[in-house]
């Protein structure tokens, strides 16, 4: 079960595909922090990937940082290995940090269940939106931009119009 709205962002310090370690503290200057449970192999992640990249690019100048985290068990899902993460990030030029949560500690701390699954934290690092990026994995039929709506509202000092939605995607692949 995921953390409740209003919960504090869990601490993390994880290796990124850029060769550096990234911790929660590193993003302290960000107005908003979007943590997305992510991976390489899931078609739902791939279907939403372009839209997440656009969010990262569109809001970077407004102090919004996006961090994708892969926590999957790579022994059963080798497409999600750290090496494969690096290769995918390089191929696509991902405009956000892509971190490897090998111990699955961050996924457990967030109570993440799906990929992709969004956790949007405000400037005080309290959870203000949780769920899907928008309302359809098919971009041609998506018409409710939950994540963008929540970001816009928080940047304007308002409450997100929708604070929680169901994440649709692959399950997080837990270690047995």
């Amino acid at each position: 079960m995921s953390i409740d709205l209003g919960s504090e962002a869990p601490f993390f310090a994880l290796p990124g595909v850029d060769g550096n370690d990234h911790s929660l503290d590193e993003y302290s200057d960000a107005k908003l922090l979007v943590v997305v449970q992510y991976c390489n192999h899931c078609p739902y992640v791939l279907a939403w990937e372009g839209r997440l990249m656009a969010v990262a690019r569109d809001y970077a100048q407004q102090g919004v940082r996006v961090v994708a985290v892969n926590s999957n068990d790579v022994s059963h899902y080798p497409e999600d290995s750290f090496e494969q993460m690096k290769a995918r990030a390089a191929k696509l030029g991902l405009p956000f940090d892509y971190l490897f949560d090998e111990s699955q500690s961050l996924a457990h701390a967030l109570g993440a269940e799906r990929t992709p699954e969004v956790f949007l934290f405000d400037e005080g690092r309290r959870l203000r939106y949780h769920g899907a990026i928008d309302d359809s994995r098919d971009e041609t039929t998506a018409n409710r931009d939950y994540l963008r709506g929540a970001i816009d509202a928080l940047l304007a000092g308002e409450e997100p119009p929708v604070a929680e939605t169901e994440s649709v995607g692959c399950t997080v692949k837990w270690k047995s």
């Binding site: 899931c42 791939l46 059963h76 994995r137 098919d138 692959c170």
Partner: protein, 99 residues
């Protein structure tokens, strides 16, 4: 025979079944869809299951490109005609396979 093999850990099989039923109806066919749940890595191996959903018409996968992927309990990746990625086959793939 029309088979739809699925893994409960992936949410795409109801959408795939609905799409398959739509296409069958449009083609004027009333074939029954045989649903097979794949529950373990061993079953995935035995059934040559490359991911959920997998649809076979008379034993032939509707997506030859992905049919040979490593058997696994995973969500399967399909590519739509416009290049986008999808967790279910395209309508066109199903139509071609059923004709």
């Amino acid at each position: 025979m029309i088979e739809l093999l699925f893994w409960e850990g992936c949410p795409s099989h109801p959408e795939a079944k609905a799409l398959l039923e739509q296409v069958l109806a449009e083609l004027g066919r009333d074939d029954q869809i045989v649903m097979t749940e794949v529950r373990s890595d061993e079953e995935a191996e035995r059934l040559r299951f490359p991911g959920s959903p997998t649809i076979r018409i008379d034993g032939n996968d509707v997506d030859l490109e992905g049919a040979g992927s490593r058997p696994a309990l995973t969500c399967r990746i399909y590519h739509l005609p416009d290049g986008r990625v999808s967790p279910v086959p395209s309508r066109e793939q199903l139509e071609v396979a059923l004709r």
